[in-house]
Symmetry: C2
Subunit: 414 residues, 2 copies
Amino acid sequence: MELTEIGERARRTAYLLNTMGPDQKNRGLSAAAEAILGGSAEILKANEQDVLTARKKGVKEGLIDRLTLTEERIVAMAEGIRQVAALDDPVGEFISMKPRPNGLLIGQKRVPLGVIGIIYEARPNVTADAFALCFKAGNAVILKGGSDAVFSNKAIVSRIRQGLNSAGLPCDTVQLIESTDRETTQRFMRMNGYLDVLIPRGGAGLIRSVVENSTVPVIETGTGNCHIYVDESADFDMALDIIFNAKTQRIGVCNACESLVVHRAIAGRFLPLLKKRLDEKNVEIRADEAACGMVDGLVAATEADWGTEYLDYIVSLKLVDSVDEAIGHINRYNTKHSEAIITSDYANAQKFLNEVDAAAVYVNASTRFTDGNEFGFGAEIGISTQKLHARGPMGLRELTTTKYVIYGSGQVRG
Amino acid sequence: MELTEIGERARRTAYLLNTMGPDQKNRGLSAAAEAILGGSAEILKANEQDVLTARKKGVKEGLIDRLTLTEERIVAMAEGIRQVAALDDPVGEFISMKPRPNGLLIGQKRVPLGVIGIIYEARPNVTADAFALCFKAGNAVILKGGSDAVFSNKAIVSRIRQGLNSAGLPCDTVQLIESTDRETTQRFMRMNGYLDVLIPRGGAGLIRSVVENSTVPVIETGTGNCHIYVDESADFDMALDIIFNAKTQRIGVCNACESLVVHRAIAGRFLPLLKKRLDEKNVEIRADEAACGMVDGLVAATEADWGTEYLDYIVSLKLVDSVDEAIGHINRYNTKHSEAIITSDYANAQKFLNEVDAAAVYVNASTRFTDGNEFGFGAEIGISTQKLHARGPMGLRELTTTKYVIYGSGQVRG
């Protein structure tokens, strides 16, 4: 099908979705979950085909793991859709409603964005996940998944559409672009007038490509070069626990810690303890010259290290003389994702919260908490690292916009 | 100065602005207003140079009028800055603050966007206006004005910077890109990492160019193909007053009415009255075949008319058989700006408000009210016709973003 035809169908469906209440939408989500469970054999078969092709192409094991579906993962996928159904519907709420002196009553109402495009890599679970969140917020969604998952995605979308259909709901709510060539992707990113927003989900390369090539408004999700600053007044045990958690609990995620900043006055005592703790997971520490001189076994950092998101058992380390220097270093090299200070000093805590420029700034907690579930949103479509529209974990509310609704009685402008 | 140097200065200044309270910022705005008044002779002289060059180039009178400054316009410019000082500071407010079961206290705080780029045409008043709004919301601003106003803009920015300097505030808060060649503009639109957002202000061509070429997030302001639908149950006098106001009170603005949709059942009685009323201002009516057959003096519309923003004494007119057909027509051809229904039917009013896709939807009032002042925001940077971040008139609040601020006590993720 032509892209413009897909776009037209999505637009038409978006107008229908806009008028649906939570009950209808939840019925659609239940039916989609059922249909996925009922079609698990079909989905697994399609997925086998993708995995086989990927192995032949020599795709790395980590990626194969993300691509592979199992009976359990399909159950989890359906369960995820049901969890979204249980969330509050953000649509229709009036954020404000005020009369003006001329008698106009001006309200601001939360409404769906309209048509959302999602570009992602070879993770078939994103297919079900993105559909559920977009649908619950009243949006039509056009999915453009990675070529390595094309059979899996087709099977999943086909089952969701069957489910919607059986519930008497419009199946063009979710459409998959099956063509995976570069030119189609380029055209997809320029579908202004059809797409209201484009959300890339994947690695830094994918996101950069979408930001650079899209003419449709983009919500940049993303890379996290997250820092933890250990202040002079930090409780060492707390600092070690938080760093260990943020660095090693899950290394491949955007809210993992990638860089440590330590106050020079405590470095002589703190660094040996830190080295010992991180040795438990064989974390390589790439440190500045002064730090390397204080404890054995550190690796000399280069300028490039300060800006690197390792997603690995590696962390950079820099010594500073003050909280101000720490804030300056972080604001220079961070990716505006999540940053933490470990301190027992009230003024330094407040200063760090005020002056560090990031989506989420923490005192005495792990950066790993930047997550829609942990923030209490129930689910997330991604973590925005840009400043427009949404910043930080994006839940259902971030998949809506507002419109002004004005009740008049014949007013004209003088 | 190199663009990257301008960007670096803006970023550094943005960190300072982020920590300033309303008193400091208001002092800066007062000083800037004073400096503009004190430098009016210098500004007028620079403006004369621009006007002279524009006349030599054969620029149209309408544009020359927008370019030309007078003593009164300079006073109005300074007054505009003072009015912004009087508005509430949106920065620092916590939108929410909630504890999580694990004891984390998660707040969402309103903070400045950071660095805002403004691209505009030859209207020197935008220079002062954009500075004031961006500054009050705590942002550094980089201005890229039209080449026809380059001397005026340099003089105005120079005075504002002197004012800020005299108040002990960082003058790199506002910087002007003096080079007006195309290549500089192209590079400006790709300054990711320096600019947090780019706002184009001007005609449809400028806005399209920014949307198509920018890799920085854009807030699209803009064109308005605004409709008024006259329902079967409309009060004719009210409908005529509102249409006359929305079409003719000011023709060159984005919230002016460009298209009428009339219920067929009343067309025979309503169209002659409409023709007579619009004849007072010699408004040309481009109508569909059925309407042309009902009253003399209408011009046959073509398909192109339905999508045209005339900004002139012209309006298109289409007959429909129902409110549903009216909504369908509007959603197909509008630019998502402002739309109105004139009706005395409760259900049709609610249906129109719910189903029309636009930034502002009116019952029984003129579309001309879509404006920051009329909405009670005190001032506006433009009217957003996109759905991300801001929709409709954008005041100070829309020049901010949020960040999550998290108070912990040693929490790690399990």
